[in-house]
Amino acid sequence: MRGRGWTATRVLAAALACGCALAPSGVRGAQQPGVAVAPTPAGQSATTLPNRPDSLKFLVLGDFGTGDSGQYTLAKQMVDLYARFPAQMAILVGDNLYGSERPQDFQKKFEQPYKPLLDAGVKFYASLGNHDAREQRYYKPFNMDGKLYYSFKAPKQDVRFIALESTYPVPEQITWLENELKNAKEAWKIVFFHHPLYSSGKTHGSELKLRDTLEPMFAKYNVSVVFTGHDHIYERVKPQQGIVYFVAGSGGQLRKNDFVPNQPFSAKIVADTQVFMAIEIFEKEMVFNAIAKTGKVVDSGLVLLRDSK
């Protein structure tokens, strides 16, 4: 892979023995050539979040703002995890509020379920999905600073996050993105937005036109990880051009078993329960856990920082 100008992000410990919410046929463990993958041995538990004091800890949530029991149950798991894993922040990959967006909806679909996290000072950074009104960018707890697309440096570790608006990606945004990526000095570049460039979701699937536009830039400027939503499943994609993609679109909404099996890019799908992600970055390592509303870890692993050479 070095010959192509980059070193593939290596994903370790992909498969899980216990807690897997999918039937075996739904688990995809095939490996991309050139990417080192070391599955967790059978019977062993999921890759543990190291919980280092100086690490960046964050949560990933998408397609959550329903206000119904699925969202609330998963939110409780997030709160329970926070007691053991004090995340500094959370990123939202869109569809933050479904249906109406009256003041009481912001309460019911966001402020109430995540109140303990908000009260504890966890900062939420939102991107907008196709169901979100653009005025959400002014909503203080979403920390968008009035912008549809924006970037920020993480409070810990050498990480830059870039949030995009993928429903109406105007040309100005693409120019802005290229400048942001070009000028970013941080080792880790993590991009998040709503529409997935890779997804096995049956209802929507991969956004190919968006992929044509964004992926060459992600590869050129050394993006390590991309988080998206839109399809109401959890999916981890095999590294593509060295980039690890996740779909985290079942944070409240769930479309049971709504996926096309055996997509060549797919590494792991969980499509029968709501899922959020807990992530920890320390120096050149990113450990991830995908956690179901039962509290069970349904996917986990380690992503190594892409080599910038």
Binding site: E135, K140, K209
Partner: protein, 179 residues
């Protein structure tokens, strides 16, 4: 020179006749969208600027204030003011071409996902609070005439609406759009 000029003048009406009707309809649509956009901006400028750390109440108030201003200014505007019959034809053609491809079923599924179905639409009326905004696939957006940031295309059932995203009102719409 005089002869050439005369020939040029004589030829010009016929050249105009040959203008592609699709291009003409789209140019007309752009003009109408620009006029709406200018109105939107003019009225928006009369409102207090929404702070970057707004509360949901402030967001709601701001939205409804703009809605009222636009509705008052556009009183009497009827359906088809932006989506003229010619533009409707062009958009139906664009979508028909798009739906001829192999992804027809996938495209339709994506559009109909969380689509609220047919609801009563009113020009300058507020998009119903309890009705979700349906998905607009990137392939459809790429094929459609571009819009300024304040305006969005959305499907409601098989009608296409032009939504003012800030004021949250229906600017125009037309039915039976999907092939």
């Amino acid at each position: 020179m005089c002869v050439l000029a005369v020939l040029a003048l004589a030829g010009s009406p016929r050249a105009q006749d040959r203008v592609n009707p699709e291009a003409k309809a789209l140019a007309d649509f752009h003009t109408r969208v620009d006029e709406y956009y200018a109105l939107h901006k003019k009225l928006e400028a009369t409102l207090p600027k929404l702070p970057k750390d707004a509360s949901p109440q402030q967001i709601d108030r701001d939205q409804r204030s703009l809605e009222a201003l636009i509705a008052a200014e556009r009183k009497g505007v009827r359906q088809g003011a932006l989506f003229t019959p010619e533009v409707q034809r062009v958009i139906r053609d664009i979508l028909a071409r798009l739906f001829q491809g192999p992804d027809r079923a996938k495209l339709r599924n994506s559009i109909m996902d969380e689509n609220p179905g047919r609801i009563k639409l009113t020009i300058n009326g507020r998009y119903p609070d309890v009705v979700p905004l349906a998905n607009m696939p990137a392939a459809v957006l790429k094929a459609m005439p571009p819009l300024p940031e304040e305006l969005e295309y959305r499907f409601v059932g098989d009608a296409l609406i032009l939504l003012d995203a800030h004021a949250h009102i229906v600017v125009d719409y037309f039915d039976r759009v999907l092939p």
